[in-house]
């Protein structure tokens, strides 16, 4: 692993981490999916896991979520060891994972419903987040009446409404069209600013990762390991319109492509 790139804004120390991955390995039968992987996720920031397909980024995310068990090593969230899914983390699924028989508001409130929150209370919370993701007026609609992009907004609102400290996003925009995706990326930057949560974001798009991330972890496959951690420093505070022409943005995109190209078949 290369040293963490110096960051002028803040020093990354252990206490700042919302999530720590320590020496995690995962073996499926005779396939080593992850090997001795360690990674820190700074609190209140968005970290992307970026890599070619088959590099184990979704596996790592599901281990952090507690949906998969690591073969060895451990995960800590706010200093507590992860033994399974917990209320400190919530998950946004690539294929949305909405209940097709439930309305938007019930879907958004479903995480709270499972936690036994009273109906009026959870619907009030759900309404707030439905507004926040821009779906006001669609509360009574059903998933099949919404576009792909709107469905993922429902998935996002559901993850936000349980008020977990860590949001895990598994290629959340890969099933929506390019224009919707750009809008999502801008909205995501806004969410990271306003929600003060830790976001862990899996993507295979280099541009997307550089655009939205405070920190990018490049994962390389067979067996998966963190090859590099990049922390963009100059354009994060610029307005969303100027990021894509920032010289540092373009440099980082090129650099990541240079290191990934040999792994792409």
């Amino acid at each position: 692993m290369q040293p963490i790139k110096s960051d002028t804004r803040r020093a990354v120390t252990e206490t700042d981490s919302a999530v720590s991955v320590r020496n995690v390995s995962k073996v499926y039968g005779d396939v080593q999916a992850l090997k001795d992987l360690s990674l820190e996720f700074p609190r209140g920031e968005l970290t992307s896991l970026l890599g070619p397909s088959g590099c184990g980024k979704t596996t790592l995310l599901k281990i952090i979520a507690g949906l998969l068990e690591p073969t060895s090593g451990q995960i800590e969230v706010n200093g507590a060891k992860v033994t399974g899914p917990g209320p400190d983390r919530s998950f946004v699924f690539q294929d949305f994972a909405l209940l097709p028989w439930a309305s938007v508001i019930r879907n958004v409130a479903f995480g709270l419903e499972l936690r036994g929150v009273a109906k009026s209370e959870r619907e009030a919370i759900a309404e707030k987040y439905i507004r926040e993701v821009g779906l006001a007026g669609f509360e009574k609609k059903f998933p099949h009446q919404l576009s792909g992009g709107m469905r993922q907004r429902v998935g996002l609102a559901r993850a936000l409404s349980v008020n977990a400290q860590v949001l895990l996003l598994d290629e959340p925009f890969s099933a929506v069209d390019e224009q919707t995706r750009r809008k999502f990326q801008e909205d995501l930057l806004e969410l990271v600013k306003t929600e003060k949560k830790t976001f862990i974001f899996v993507t295979h798009s280099i541009e997307e990762a550089v655009y939205v991330s405070d920190q990018i972890a490049i994962l390389l496959p067979r067996p998966s390991r963190v090859s590099e951690i990049i922390r963009p420093s100059s354009f994060r505070d610029k307005s969303v319109d100027n990021i894509r022409r920032d010289p540092e943005y373009l440099d980082i995109v090129d650099r990541i492509w240079a290191s990934l190209r040999s792994y792409v078949e």
Partner: protein, 250 residues
């Protein structure tokens, strides 16, 4: 159905067949087929008789009890088979064998085991219906989207919550399809049971009318039976349509 761009009312194909029946009956080709109008008149006269009402009651009781057990046992067994690999391997061959087996041949064995009463008729009815209900519930559970299961887990669903709020609803379209076909098979089951085991209910009426060549009465009872089965099947199809809005989008 559309003919030359005009929408025909539902069931109009049945009217066509009833007309054909009437014509064949009036031609007097065979005593076996009296005109449909004669069957209807017989039917109206037959319905208020105590013999008919008693038969209806006895048959409905055995039928509903059989269907109840088939559903109450079949759906949970099917869901468990869909979720548990070992159980599935153990039971699936038997379910498939019984689904295609000539169950009528088993009825004498059931009579030895359970006697000649209503109980055996109920068991026969349940045996006709249960296998397809099991298979469909199993298929419904097996096609559940994996990420729905993961979603329920990641938001902390208890096994009971996951079952009641996710698995059941996700499998419901298949379950209802299985219940609909199972109910139709149960109609066969109850009549075969009544003919072979204890000569009661509609089975006894069929036996009586056909042995005395009372064809109008015979067809009248058959028409009633067909009407009841058809209504039940349509009701279940209606329930299936109620969930079809999400069946395609799971």
């Amino acid at each position: 159905m559309y003919v030359y761009g005009h929408k025909l009312p539902a069931l109009s194909s049945l009217i066509l067949w009833a007309l054909l029946w009437e014509v064949v009956g009036r031609l007097g080709l065979t005593f076996f087929i009296p005109p449909f109008s004669e069957v209807l008149v017989t039917l109206v006269g037959l319905i208020p008789t105590p013999a008919f009402l008693n038969a209806l009651f006895v048959t409905a009781y055995a039928f509903l009890a059989g269907v109840f057990f088939a559903i109450a046992i079949g759906i949970p067994v099917g869901i468990l088979m869909g979720k548990n690999r070992i159980l599935d391997e153990l039971l699936l061959p038997w379910v498939n064998i019984f689904l295609s087996a000539p169950l009528t041949a088993l009825v004498p064995v059931l009579m030895v085991l359970f006697g000649f009463g209503t109980r055996t008729v109920i068991i026969t009815t349940a045996l006709f219906a249960i296998w397809i209900i099991i298979l469909n519930a199993r298929a419904g559970v097996r096609q559940i989207n994996r990420s729905l299961v993961e979603m329920a887990r990641s938001f902390g669903a208890s096994p009971m919550d996951a079952f009641v709020k996710v698995y059941f609803w996700a499998a419901l379209p298949e379950i209802l399809g299985g219940v609909r076909i199972g109910v139709i098979r149960a109609v066969k089951g109850v009549i075969i049971g009544q003919l072979l085991i204890s000569i009661v209910g509609f089975g006894a009426l069929f036996e009586l009318y056909s042995s005395k060549f009372l064809m109008a009465e015979f067809w009248a009872v058959l028409t009633v039976l067909f009407g009841l089965a058809f209504a039940l099947s349509e009701f279940l199809a209606y329930l299936e349509r109620k969930v079809s809005y999400y069946a395609a989008a799971r």
